[in-house]
């Protein structure tokens, strides 16, 4: 009896030791990367890579048919007649391996990562979009060009900084509602530093002190909570939206202290912060929007697609201003968060 109990115990001990060995082994093997890199990977949202060894992948028949570059076939760029669509530019060496047969079957072409935007009101939306384009041509774009031409860049940067500082209550509220204490702490620190050292937000000293800018709104918060966007909407003057983002805008307006400070003020005074924000945001995308207008075969469809993608990235905190590893990251100095999207 005693011997049997002893045997069971020894089996249990062996199993435990084996488990510990396994755990230690898996903990030690990836140890060649730096600690910082491991932290980034640990924080990375998404399924970790599970890929077969390279030798096994090469055995697949399907892959053998796929587009396969041959580094030995490098030649000086061919005349346009030989390689269609290619011109001789700068004499730069271009490998001649453009596959003319294409993927062997549909399975070789990956699927969409971006969900198609529902647009059941496309007819009405296109009418409103056309109206917004007229308003943009007549008022917003000229205002933005005059603003760029007349106001020197340092002053424009100061105006942008003040607007960003005034948006703090909106960002902070949504940081908290999204359960992101790190981002909320960043928002508070930025506000304290820029309101004092930055003289009411004119100068952004917080970024230099390691507290970079990020931006949140209630539409994003609803997205984080799992609320779907609903059908695409084009709102007069305000541009592309959807029921989720439009209702978010209403909540953000209620959260914004400027709404209550200017509650009893005349309309022209109430319009100053919103009007300034619209002109500043439009100026920030002057060049990009010019390119879009010039190159889009259907501007309406392009704006709809870009809006949906951008909002998806902002909700996932994958747009500029965020680092999935740390919660917040820095925006390039030239970038302005689009509190009102002038598209």
């Amino acid at each position: 009896m005693v011997r049997a109990v002893s045997n069971r115990k020894s089996v249990q001990v062996r199993r435990m030791l084996a488990c510990v060995c396994f755990a230690a082994l898996f903990a030690l093997l990836p140890g060649t990367a730096s600690a910082e890199r491991q932290n980034d990977k640990a924080a990375f949202k998404g399924t970790q890579l599970s890929v077969k060894p390279i030798e096994e992948r090469g055995k697949k028949k399907k892959l053998a048919k796929a587009y396969k570059p041959d580094p030995t076939m490098r030649v000086i760029i061919e005349p346009a007649a030989t390689v269609p669509g290619v011109d001789v530019v700068d004499g730069v060496q271009v490998p001649k391996d453009l596959n003319e047969s294409g993927p062997s079957d549909e399975g070789d072409v990956p699927g969409d990562l971006v969900a198609e935007t529902e647009d059941p009101l496309e007819g009405l939306n296109r009418v409103v979009f056309g109206f917004n384009q007229v308003v943009d041509h007549l008022v917003l774009e000229p205002s933005a060009r005059i603003y760029r031409a007349v106001i020197p860049r340092p002053v424009r940067t100061g105006v942008t900084n003040v607007l960003n500082n005034l948006a703090t209550p909106i960002t902070l509220t949504n940081d908290i509602l999204q359960g992101n204490p790190e981002a909320a702490a960043n928002t508070i620190k930025r506000f304290m530093v820029n309101s004092t050292l930055g003289i009411g937000g004119i100068f952004d000293h917080a970024t230099g002190l390691g507290e970079p800018l990020h931006y949140e709104d209630f539409g994003q918060t609803l997205g984080v909570w799992g609320v779907g966007s609903g059908p695409y909407l084009v709102i007069p003057i305000l541009g592309p939206s959807n029921p989720r983002d439009a209702s978010g805008m209403v909540v953000d307006t209620a959260v914004n202290p400027m709404t209550w400070i200017l509650y009893d003020a005349p309309l022209w005074q109430k319009s100053i912060p919103v009007g300034t924000q619209i002109v500043v945001s439009r100026e920030a995308i002057l060049d990009d929007y010019d390119n879009l207008r010039k190159n889009s075969p259907d501007l309406y469809a392009s704006v709809r697609d870009l809006y949906a993608q951008k909002r998806q990235a902002e909700i996932a905190n994958e747009a500029a201003g965020y680092n999935p590893g740390s919660g917040v990251n820095s925006l390039p100095p030239s970038m302005v968060p689009q509190t009102l999207n002038p598209y």
Binding site: D40, L49, N329, P332
Partner: protein, 192 residues
């Protein structure tokens, strides 16, 4: 004591052997995708700094799965692409993408690319990275890679939340929709 040690040693040996066979393979695939992106990313930064269409085109020819991108960009009009059009269409798509990169060169002319991690998207591999600019500014860039011939090829790039191939698909489908799915209209648009 020896009763415990012997079976344990066998198990340890087997677990070591299994780990040696599996874990380095997975780590190799992830690290090879990351090192591939690092190499291509630095090429893109160099081309962006030179604002050179030809450098972008060379990078695309060497590293992008142009045929897959071209077919994906047709959306529901894939069947409109006939065999005799493929050659010209792929060349024009390559040229189009190179010009898109060149137009956005300012946004890509960073100081360096830092790879942040890899994930599996089923039919492709996503490699996340950050493009570093001077003054502490960064822009997130995600690379969508497909496995081709034992290595990787780039299928799509997401710069600051915008997927380029997806945007291209929107444009191409718009042209085809306006012209009742006529590929000749899309080819004419791409030749402009």
């Amino acid at each position: 004591m020896t009763d415990i040690v012997r079976p344990l040693s066998r198990r340890l040996f087997m677990s070591l052997a299994a780990s040696a066979a599996l874990v380095p393979g997975m780590a190799f695939a992830a690290s090879s995708a990351e090192s591939y992106v690092s190499k291509v990313g630095n090429g893109v930064i160099a081309a962006a700094r030179n604002n050179s269409v030809s450098q972008f085109r060379s990078l695309l020819r060497s590293n992008a799965d142009i045929a897959a991108i071209a077919i994906y960009s047709l959306g529901p009009y894939r069947k409109s692409l006939t065999a005799d059009m493929k050659s010209e269409y792929y060349g024009l798509v390559e040229n189009y993408i190179a010009k898109v990169f060149q137009q956005n060169a300012k946004k890509l002319a960073g100081e360096g690319l830092e790879v942040k991690g890899t994930s599996d998207a089923g039919d492709s591999v996503l490699v996340k990275s950050v493009l570093n600019f001077g003054g502490g500014g960064t822009v997130p860039v995600t690379w969508r890679l497909v496995k081709r011939g034992g290595g990787f090829r780039i299928f799509d790039v997401n710069v600051d939340g915008i997927w380029l191939a997806s945007t291209q698909k929107t444009n191409f489908v718009s042209v085809l929709k306006k012209n009742n799915g006529q590929m000749s209209a899309l080819l004419a648009y791409l030749r402009q």
